[in-house]
Amino acid sequence: MHLLNKVTTVFQGQEFYIAIELPNRSLQQAKICCDWRLKSLLTGYEHLLEQRLQQSTTLAGFMEELKTIVERVGQDGDMSPASVASPRFYSHLLEELAEVGWERLSFIDANFRWLHLEAKDSCDRRHVLKIHLHEQHPEVAPDCVTELPLPFHFISTGSNSLKNLFSQFKQCLEQYKEFWDAMDEIDSSTWVLEPEKPTRSATVRRIALVNNASLQIEVNPVQPTVLPKCTFLGADHVTSPLKGNLCKNLHHWRSAVSLLDNLQNVLEVTFPSPANTKKEDLSVECGICYAYRLAGCVPELTCDDSRCCQTYHRDCLYEWLRSDPTSRLSFNMVFGECPYCSKPITMKAPNK
């Protein structure tokens, strides 16, 4: 038995034809055929259709349900089907990719709009250039997403071709060579507590010093060998001497020496490295939640008492001090007791 809904359902000016095949005259095994526009609209709602089909007793009832679904989907999403560009767009794209080299292409989406090109710099580091092509490509310049420490601006010199774009990207990579060399050295010979998995664009590193203190540096990607912005985190008795060393030895900073060596010379310390320490010894859990990473944060506060040195997450310690009636808040600073050793501990109230 074959039914065709002669009366087309008109919704927002669009017409959809569907055919429903009913083997054995039962709705349970019905097969629905429809045009591709309706099909693409209903993608992701198959289970819902199936469920309605099982529940409906009559075909008319099911059609009513189907109409409701289509109306709802139409409201949620775009009624216009995914746009298809002119054939020229695709043939042109293929030519361009051949120019760049197919081996560079690591990803392309189903609409041929997003593509990833892969480049290797002179030190064999992999870099990905994510390109979003405009509908009017190559008349309109494509958008790019990169993992460079500074934004990458494509300057279209007369041509928006992928080849042009890709060569500019490769030139750009060489600019950051020194920066990545410095960062790679730090990543491989120290324990970087944060970021957990540094991306190529990350200019900040938190380097473990001892089990409850760390140094956070923010490196200038253009001039990686100059003194980075340094922030010490941890117990006072550990960080104070280091701050002193930094001031005292600042004139010993040499641009010719690598960033890591400079830091170690000026601070008069040797950073613990993966060669001689375990990360667990350096990443000490928060004394309150017993976890190291909490919602992306690591323990930043440390009890200043040299016998305690317990570390806490900012949120955890604040939450506890807030619930402890003996602690008090004045001028945005919370004064309370260390939950472990009961010695005074102070922290800035989080901005909420």
Partner: protein, 199 residues
């Protein structure tokens, strides 16, 4: 905050399970469900107390605000103790109330419970009847507590006298537990206990 609670319970649980101190003092801890919000504890009655030889089951509920608020602990096993309700099992223990400290962990809680069993504090009672008895006649309290440990917590030996009195009331058609409560409250005098049940 709920994720803090879960993360911390997981860590604590791991440590309690492998802690030697815990094994030595006969403390057990197990999960009741996968969400780490309900736990079951088991502590052994401390030696030289009326609770010796008994095993007491604790019901531990973890609030979503843990560890900033204490867990809610009550005795599942019925127990005769001035600081524990003989009806609900609710416990009066300062470290689970105003003396809660964010760094208190389960083994500490369980050890505190054992300490409480060893040294009741009748001046801060949860169960007034038991506390009065404790203050007025310590021997009667000890015998009663010992009998409860036998009846509910698996203590091997029984007091024949108390047991026969409970049996006597039971044979009269009273509920065993009700009979025991009445006898414990009324100094194990059968007639008074009977009146107490019927009143």
């Amino acid at each position: 905050m709920a994720n803090i609670a879960t993360a911390r319970i997981k860590r604590e649980f791991k440590e309690v399970v492998k802690s030697e101190e815990v094994a030595k003092c006969n403390i057990k801890l197990e999960l009741k469900n996968d969400s780490f919000t309900e736990l079951r504890g088991e502590i052994a009655g401390p030696p030289d107390t009326p609770y010796e030889g008994g095993n007491f089951i604790l019901d531990i509920q973890i609030p979503a605000t843990y560890p900033f608020n204490p867990p809610v602990v009550k005795f599942v096993t019925k127990i005769w103790h001035p600081n524990i309700s003989s009806v609900t099992g609710a416990v009066c223990l300062d470290i689970l109330k105003d003396q809660w400290w964010v760094t208190s962990v389960f083994d500490y809680i369980c050890l505190s419970f054992q300490a409480l069993l060893a040294a009741p504090e009748p001046d801060d009672p949860q169960d007034a009847v038991v506390a009065n008895q404790y203050k007025e006649s310590k021997d009667e309290f000890k015998n009663t507590a010992r009998h409860w440990t036998y009846a509910y917590a698996g203590r091997p030996t029984a007091s024949a006298e108390y047991d026969s009195k409970v049996e006597q009331l039971k044979n009269m058609g009273f509920d065993e537990h009700k009979a025991r409560v009445a006898l414990s409250t009324k100094h194990w005098i059968v007639e008074q206990a009977m009146e107490h049940i019927l009143s």
